[in-house]
């Protein structure tokens, strides 16, 4: 079967492990561009959040390239994400495409669908082979995220502008091709060494900002207008609070994805005084992470949300209060299908200037 996986940051690294190596044909989804967004916006409901639109655009592009099966995650609310796959399926069927939507989610009652979906993905291979492949894919994701987090530290300190982005790009291609754990280890060492070469260790007093907010928008550079890069070039170290690791881990609650939900409790505790109950999505996590960032001594936080996101609006309302109470600067950036960047740049620059001034003052006082 010709399968396609929607884009999310560098998640394409697992494509070969879970699709090609399982005997399926891989349809490489083209990188997110204005065209992807336009396609999504044209067919998606108007008030849906941005991730749905971009992923829908991905799917349309994949189907145009001949995909027969689309892999998508699901869920059971209260965030709208749980219903994405259903709505996207309806829209695509209406457009006249013929395909199978492979929705990976913990089913409610209907275990047969999940069983069938897993069997489609398994494609007649042995179970142990499949489990090994998925474990390996998980290792790839972990490594990729580790390196991406490293880039965020290196970028404000790099000797030559843009060097770290090049390194990570090459590494991602290597990870994509990797077939065993040893190769991954070698790639890791190699990349970390190259990072050391391009880093200027003399830079001091670098501003550190937590990037919190909605999962997709914070991890997919296209949807947040390459915010991490922009901040990096402004000399800011971004501390990414969302990760695929932390997202899939708690959902699966499976042994193979062990030790991925250790921080969950801590975040909940931190948010408790402000938002006592989970509101779905990353609502409570966002609030908790901002409180934790303050404790960790970061300089500020940027919350990124897609327009009309339900949980994040709750979080945004509450962040105003958190920011006031803790004297901790936060900035909320709302993204929709508008692609004008200048307004965004101005806001980021102003925010960074503010943080720099604050930091200077602190240093002088000390």
């Amino acid at each position: 079967m010709k399968l396609a996986l929607p884009r999310l940051g560098n998640i394409e690294v697992i494509n070969e492990t879970i699709i090609t190596d399982m005997g399926h044909e891989l349809i490489e989804v083209p990188p997110n561009t204005k065209k992807t967004l336009d396609l999504g916006v044209r067919y998606a409901p108007e008030y849906c959040c941005l991730p749905l639109k971009i992923v829908l655009g991905n799917f349309i592009e994949a189907l145009e390239l001949g995909a027969e099966g689309l892999i998508m995650a699901g869920g059971w609310g209260p965030c709208r994400f749980g219903y994405y796959a259903q709505v996207q399926r309806d829209i695509l069927l209406d457009l006249g495409y013929n395909f199978k939507m492979i929705i990976m989610e913990i089913p409610r009652g209907n275990w047969k669908t999940l069983w069938d979906n897993i069997n489609i993905l398994r494609n007649g291979r042995s179970w142990s082979y499949m489990i090994n492949q998925y474990r390996f894919a998980w290792q790839k994701i972990l490594l990729m995220e580790k390196l991406e987090n490293k880039v965020l530290q290196v970028r404000p300190r790099e000797k030559k502008r843009g060097a770290s982005s090049l390194v990570i790009k090459e590494s991602v291609i290597k990870i994509k091709k990797a077939k065993d754990l040893e190769t991954l280890k070698r790639i890791e060492e190699d990349t970390l060494n190259r990072f050391k070469e391009i880093t200027n260790f003399h830079k001091k007093n670098i501003i550190r900002i937590a990037l919190v907010g909605e999962f997709y928008v914070s991890l997919e550079p296209f949807s947040n207008h390459y915010l991490e890069e922009k901040l990096g070039y402004l000399g800011v170290e971004v501390v990414r609070k969302n990760s695929i690791e932390a997202w899939i881990g708690p959902i699966m609650r499976l042994k193979i994805f062990k030790d991925s939900f250790k921080e969950e409790k801590e975040i909940e505790q931190a948010a408790y005084n402000y938002l006592a109950h989970s509101v779905g999505g990353e609502g409570q996590t966002t609030v908790g992470n901002v409180v934790l960032s303050h404790r960790e001594g970061l300089d500020g936080a940027i919350q990124v949300i897609p327009f009309t996101c339900m949980p994040e609006i709750v979080a945004e309302t509450i962040l105003k209060k958190v920011s006031e109470d803790l004297d901790f600067p936060t900035l909320t950036l709302t993204y929709d299908e508008q692609t004008g960047e200048e307004g965004l740049n101005t806001r980021i620059e102003a925010f960074i200037d503010l943080l720099k001034k604050r930091k200077k003052k602190e240093v002088m006082v000390l």
Partner: protein, 332 residues
């Protein structure tokens, strides 16, 4: 002892659960103060005190809360999480007590019992028990008040339901006289949407009254029996996990299936559930071309002329269609 005054905002889930709260609280000797029906002042208060990105119903809710603040001892804002297995309320409703608390500060103590039946089946009772303890120390009285009010609430819930026979008058095999009557008959239009939109005549710009004045028989989701809704929802590819939207979709599907003449879906700007649910209903409408379908979005702007034009156009279309059907129907 002076009676404790408990304020209940006249918005959002008020329309669902007020009978229960009222019965329970009055039995325990509290004085209930309901905020006034939404008006310009309340809406303005809400808009001013909330973020611009919050959806309209929540803004209205803010307004109601603020209008109550000076008159009462407590404000009741339950945290509704889950009242039926496998469903949730919208994230904004789950976070509502915290949102109100952070935005309005410590203006007035808020009672926020947590209703989440996933924790234990009797969670309704436990959460109302917490509220009851503020009013009286006699736990037996609280228990009794709860069971009485719960029973009454359940009975009320299935009060005025619809007779499916009246939905669509037959067109075939009718003589000229019957045709004339039919041309004059009221148009059956189903208005589906959240209760807090349909029943709040200020937000929906008096839509229901307007329709009635234009010789329309207005049908709402409340008129459909919960069992029918449950049956209709089985047709979905994936169950809906929002309690409040289930009724909307189930009712809309039911009205489509019974071929009412028109369906109007009311949504509010920024409503997250409706963006998904609206799409489901919209897709369903493709399968029933004989049912006219339209969608009205409400926000804090109050220009009525645009709405009037749309209603008139919608009704004109249905009337014209009916006239055509009548004149081409076989008669003898």
């Amino acid at each position: 002892m002076k009676k404790k005054k408990i304020g209940i905002p006249y918005a959002l889930y008020f329309y669902e659960y007020f009978p229960l709260w009222k019965e329970f609280l009055t039995r325990l000797g509290a004085e209930i103060i309901i905020s006034k029906p939404t008006n310009k002042e309340i809406l303005d208060l809400g808009i001013r005190s909330s973020l611009s990105e919050v959806c309209l119903p929540v803004k209205v809710f803010y307004g109601h809360v603020i209008s109550l603040v000076n008159q009462v001892d407590y404000i009741l804002i339950p945290r509704m999480v889950c009242v039926e297995k496998g469903t949730f309320f919208c994230p904004k409703i789950i976070g509502l007590p915290d949102m109100v608390k952070t935005s309005l500060g410590s203006l007035c103590p808020i009672l926020n019992p947590l209703v989440d039946i996933r924790k234990s089946y009797g969670n309704w009772k436990n959460s109302l028990f917490q509220v009851g303890q503020i009013l009286t120390e006699n736990s037996l009285a609280i228990s009794r008040a709860f069971s009485a009010s719960w029973e009454k609430f359940q009975r009320n819930y299935v009060a005025h339901l619809l007779d499916p026979q009246t939905l669509r008058p037959g067109l075939l095999n009718c003589n000229n006289r019957a045709k004339e009557q039919l041309a004059e008959a009221l148009i059956n239009i189903a208005v589906v949407g959240h209760k807090y939109l349909i029943n709040d005549s200020y937000i929906n710009l008096n839509l229901i009254e307007k329709l009635k004045n234009m010789k329309v028989n207005v049908l709402t989701p409340e008129m459909v029996h919960p069992n029918i809704i449950r049956k209709q929802l089985k047709r979905l590819f994936k169950p809906i996990f929002w309690s409040l939207s289930q009724q909307v979709v189930g009712a809309a599907y039911y009205y489509f299936e019974n071929r009412v003449e028109g369906i109007i879906h009311l949504t509010s700007f920024e409503c997250g559930e409706d963006s998904m649910v609206g799409e489901l209903i919209h897709h369903q409408s493709y399968q029933y071309p004989e049912v006219a379908y339209t969608e009205f979005v409400f926000d804090e702007h109050t220009g009525e002329a645009g709405l009037n034009t749309r209603i008139e156009a919608f009704l004109d279309m249905i009337r014209r269609k009916r006239r055509n059907e009548i004149s081409f129907a076989p008669s003898w």
